[in-house]
Amino acid sequence: MKKLSILFFLALAILFSSGIASAEMLQIKGSDTLINLVQRLAEVYMQKNPGKEIAITGGGSGTGIAALINKKCDIANASRGMQQKEVASANAVGVNPTRIAVAMDGLSVIVNGNNKVAQLTVDQLGKIFRGEVRNWSELGGANMPITLYGRQSNSGTYVFFMEEVLKGDYSSKMKQMNGNAQIVEAIKADPSGISYVGVGYVKKADGVAVVMVARNANSVYASPLNAADVDNGVYPIARPLNQYVDGTPTGDVKDFLTFELSPEGQAIVEEEGFFPLPKEYQDFNKKAGL
């Protein structure tokens, strides 16, 4: 009996101590595209500020936004903007999402390293992913079927690509992969594959080729690896990577966001393969007091 009661109190103690720890810890959740970047930012931040703790989990932009609405995290990473119905359901439970842009991403279209097709227009990409163009020979490549790889519907990249490029539904034959890293691995292995990932995932990847993309047949083809083209909008599928918080950021949340947007934070953004924020979005963030 004595043993039992000791066990009981021990369990209680563990429960409480973990409760206290999680109360102090900043919870960040969401986009798979942002996870490595924010992880790195948090590591450097925690080194500089001993005692501050940040926990980061992925799951996709949709998952992060759902967590923010359900008050399960402090910051939601999102590679897309929040949808109107998401804002509405957030407001309904008293959450007022504020958007902060933290980095620029040139959403990169990737194919296997042996694929000869090196440039595509946005219109062609739409046809490919809607399942209307099904063979590489139609695009000047080898005679083999196109295998589509994409993200799952909880991904902000999935939604962004659907709205900006497809303007329609994905082919139901598209394989739905669980994150950017898995996509890169799949494209490395599949000579017939095509997919899209955040630019931070292609800079260090061997065996995959980044396709140059043009807005339409008459405009120039640009690479997402070129910072200038991503910043000035020549690359057609560039996007800001966002973080959402509840209300105006204060305290630890504000402290961390300020670090992310500082020159030091933006240098880490570049190290991780993404691009620093252009002036347009720096001004946008000032409205949130950052």
Partner: protein, 295 residues
């Protein structure tokens, strides 16, 4: 004496309480599923839900909720797994119980059972890096994220259950059965095939059913290895998306109290009904068989 009676009663009640808790948990889960699934049918027609193959709750145009492709995918990968696992499993069980020396059996059986302890993510990872590429090569496809890959992996996961329980069933066949058969002039092979396996068949059937239950409900492995394309599969080399994978992928991001949320619970309900029916059928088969062959 009185104290002893009290103790007996107490223990009786404790056991009864255990039983009641298990049954209550089952009923509670069923009711929870029902409560969360039924609102889906305010906006989705039942016929469309069950017999349409278009599942796209995040569509650019109009949300569609049809689970037929997933049901077909689930059965495709499960049956594929059983086709591989049952012959292999019964063969292994027969070897372990009848052919192997006691020393080999003592080592081999626990090893097979350890296979059951490998986490499903690890098996899924194997599917991505090892089984998938091998299947791609063998079938001349460009990639191996398809139903065959899922079947092979699920077979690996169902094997320990089938081997272990079948071996138990074969070992518990009364010794006299085998001895009588041998005494009548049958060789060991005939004895195994015509006497022991039929005598143990209820146990073997139960083992296969449990293996099937393991395969049909498995989530992580198929999620990682089969590509998850929502299209209706036409061949074993097509990428598939099972019911469990759909729930696992989409439940994390779905907003509470939406049609999509309820529809995911409706998938869970369908899965529950399917496993319930499978268990019931195997129970009835077992009962009938026991009556015929009671000894």
């Amino acid at each position: 004496m009185n104290k002893r009676k009290f103790q007996d009663k107490l223990i009786e009640y404790i056991f009864m309480l255990n039983g009641v808790i298990v049954v209550a948990a089952l009923i509670a889960i069923f009711l929870l599923l029902l409560k969360n699934a039924l609102p889906a049918f305010k906006e989705i027609r039942v016929v469309e839900f069950l017999f349409s193959a278009r599942w796209n709750p995040t569509s650019y145009y109009e949300e569609t909720y049809g689970i037929l492709a997933m049901v077909v995918s689930t059965f495709m990968v499960t049956i594929g797994a059983l086709v591989i696992a049952i012959p292999l499993g019964i063969g292994t069980a027969a070897y372990l119980s009848d052919v192997a020396s006691p020393r080999v059996r003592e080592i081999a059986k626990p090893v097979v059972e350890i296979l059951a302890g490998i986490p499903s993510v690890v098996i899924g990872f194997l599917g991505i890096v090892l089984v998938g590429p091998a299947i791609a090569k063998l079938t001349g496809q460009y990639n191996g994220l398809n139903a065959i890959n899922g079947s092979v992996l699920l077979a690996i996961m169902a094997l320990p259950t089938i081997v272990s329980l079948s071996e138990d069933a074969l070992s518990s066949v009364p010794k006299v059965f085998g001895e009588a058969s041998l005494a009548l002039g049958a060789n060991p092979w005939q004895t195994l095939l015509r006497v022991k396996i039929p005598a143990a068949s209820s146990g073997i059937l139960a083992a296969c059913m449990l293996g099937m239950g393991r395969a049909i409900g498995e989530t992580m492995t198929v999620l990682m290895a089969t590509g998850n394309a929502p299209a209706m599969p036409a061949a074993l080399t097509d990428s598939i998306r099972t019911m469990t994978a759909t729930v696992a992928i989409e439940l994390g991001e779905v907003a509470y109290d939406t049609t999509h949320y309820y529809a995911l619970f409706a998938i869970g309900l369908v899965l529950f009904v399917i496993t319930f029916v499978i268990n019931m059928i195997s129970d009835i088969v077992l009962q009938n068989y026991k009556k015929k062959t009671s000894y």
